[in-house]
Symmetry: C3
Subunit: 307 residues, 3 copies
Amino acid sequence: MLNGRHLIDIKDFSKQELNEIFDLADQIVKNPEDFSHCCDGKILATLFYEPSTRTRLSFETAMLRLGGKVIGFSEPNSTSVSKGENIADTIRIIGCYADVVAMRHPKEGAPKVASIYSKIPVINAGDGGHQHPTQTLTDLLTIRSIKGSLSNLKIGCCGDLKFGRTVHSFIKAMSMYENNSFTLISPRELKVPEYIKRELDKNNVVYKETKKLEEVIGELDILYMTRVQKERFFNEEEYIRLKDSYILDKLKMQEAPERMIVLHPLPRVNEIACEVDDDPRACYFKQAQYGVYAREALIMKLLGLEL
Amino acid sequence: MLNGRHLIDIKDFSKQELNEIFDLADQIVKNPEDFSHCCDGKILATLFYEPSTRTRLSFETAMLRLGGKVIGFSEPNSTSVSKGENIADTIRIIGCYADVVAMRHPKEGAPKVASIYSKIPVINAGDGGHQHPTQTLTDLLTIRSIKGSLSNLKIGCCGDLKFGRTVHSFIKAMSMYENNSFTLISPRELKVPEYIKRELDKNNVVYKETKKLEEVIGELDILYMTRVQKERFFNEEEYIRLKDSYILDKLKMQEAPERMIVLHPLPRVNEIACEVDDDPRACYFKQAQYGVYAREALIMKLLGLEL
Amino acid sequence: MLNGRHLIDIKDFSKQELNEIFDLADQIVKNPEDFSHCCDGKILATLFYEPSTRTRLSFETAMLRLGGKVIGFSEPNSTSVSKGENIADTIRIIGCYADVVAMRHPKEGAPKVASIYSKIPVINAGDGGHQHPTQTLTDLLTIRSIKGSLSNLKIGCCGDLKFGRTVHSFIKAMSMYENNSFTLISPRELKVPEYIKRELDKNNVVYKETKKLEEVIGELDILYMTRVQKERFFNEEEYIRLKDSYILDKLKMQEAPERMIVLHPLPRVNEIACEVDDDPRACYFKQAQYGVYAREALIMKLLGLEL
């Protein structure tokens, strides 16, 4: 039962619960307009203590497409934070206004704290470098929809694997499904953290690490590209030296198999050349569309609503 | 008749008009979903020249719960103010867009000026240190709903009684009802202004002033706590010395009668210890809920709408 | 067919297409409530990379009055721009969320670029000092509604004719209609640019230039006043010297014919004295109302919707 639950970490939900969400999302994908009154009379609060236009608009679109309504804020300086209010009080008051909350916060753990005091479901819409579970829902729904399954996949993750919040959640989630293997492609300075590798080892998930995308792209079913986030670097020189290292272009795509799909949580800077956009294997804009459907399904489940 | 009227100062409405609003709010409290289409096709404009997330979201929730829609802005820098436009022109244009306006402004009197030029009802959502009448509506609805009456009450007001806008309106409004008496609890530096006391005297309302909450808490029916607003102080040292003086905690609550309810306009900083939150007499979060119902009733009345 | 088209420059639409929009707007003016469900289930995205409260709220009101919903942002700092995303990617993602976009951008040409990559209609809501076609739609609808025709008019344009984006579009659009003539009233420093005059010459449109409003006001059918935009000046002294030069007041209005109507794109600063507001010929607030109707008609046409 997902009714009344919170989503803070993708691991909060069992594989079976995730499948329930994906099954509902599949229905929405097929007939989105059938769902246009499912949330009539319901209100989503989007509490964004850090701006993130894409994520916020994806949530708001999801709620509006379901017939629901939205209140909220998109930036910290328009909030009561400046008057010194704590998250516990805020969420208790928002619980008097809304039926479900999506919270983005620069501090890791803030949505978790909110969920403890909340009488309505709290969805973590990203907390610092920590968790971003609805991005992972989006990634998995995209793969399941396009590849037909979440198992038996050779998955490449490329770019900044050290600081990238979304790629960590993605690896953890995909390692829950049978017979997936990982190829972790990054510069030495931006390798995946040890705790992720320990988890993969513990679960007997096959993985390898490499520096060169060209050498492994031919083997992949999924290529998950990530942005080299400038704001994570302390050293601007290092950023400039590394940012172009892992650019996916037409030339590299020629080495990739027909079946391989390219994902990216977006926004991209230049890690995927624009010339790749028209390649039918480029699925990162489709991902944005699946993101809306995934959030629609999630909201319905947390509110205990059915078609 | 409240249809087409403005609400700038709580005194704009007679006791009978306030009762009309409270009677409608009572109905909404009982069956909120019966009212979910009362404002179909209507638009509320929230013009917030000063951020106030809680008040804004309360208004927006009220309108959305009635089936209406919302336009507006939440901060001054996204407005046309920077192009030098005056309030009179702004409100005339907003009158072409919306059916009712809630305006928050840092300058005292700005909503009054707006109402003079407006062809649609203007609600003052707080103007500087001056008026905040919908907070008072909320306070009164909460008391009426929980205590069953607005008369024959021993009311304590504690904290910053000098600068606190909401407590001034609260005292004025409650002194309109029969046989209420006031205990004004504050440090010497933050005593209630003389003009309020003169008004109490003029209306033969019984009140006393004291510095110690502990000595009077045992006699009260209502304890209205207020925030010591840092931004009202010029002297930071004085702020630090005073801010902890009037903290309501479990120990003080042991001296309070069973019948006493605690109100607070929120946000609180630390003037009410979190350990008090679970006390059944703590009604400040319920207040936030009543705030939505009070605003729903107000909007309906100003728009001349009925169930 | 306007279904699926973009509106970047008012010249994108033929006279016949403009008339289609005006004819629909006329119907909306007459019975606005008949249209209150035409956009049920549709979403407008308002992407304002530069604040412009009036224009944004006019678009949002238009969509809400049609039964549609709105997502968006009102300021650049809450967007993904700071993460380095380009407009092409943004619009492709917004195309997964919304059905139609209104974009305001400080850079000339940005909405044009967006339209190239967009799968949903893009409306230019103002790009730098360049185009603002929905203001022109508004101006023309106002004139057509009040004067009954867009032809055979003596049109005065007064104020800053050099930097004023809206007045350029207005002149170009009105010169498409038969037998209109222009009187261009401005200080020497703020005369209409040469390229506009060349276009008027090319189309054999009669016009004259003058410095004195008093000398020509008696001949006009339309007086289009514009704001002297402080932000366009590099020299503050020059601004102060010029800004009061072209103030329309009661005295000047006494020289104007009964039939003359005064328009202004708003906001005004002091170029129209408040004493003129009550003159029945002052139509600039009505213009704001027509602006909503014009945008309603435009949105319906671009979405291929009918009553």
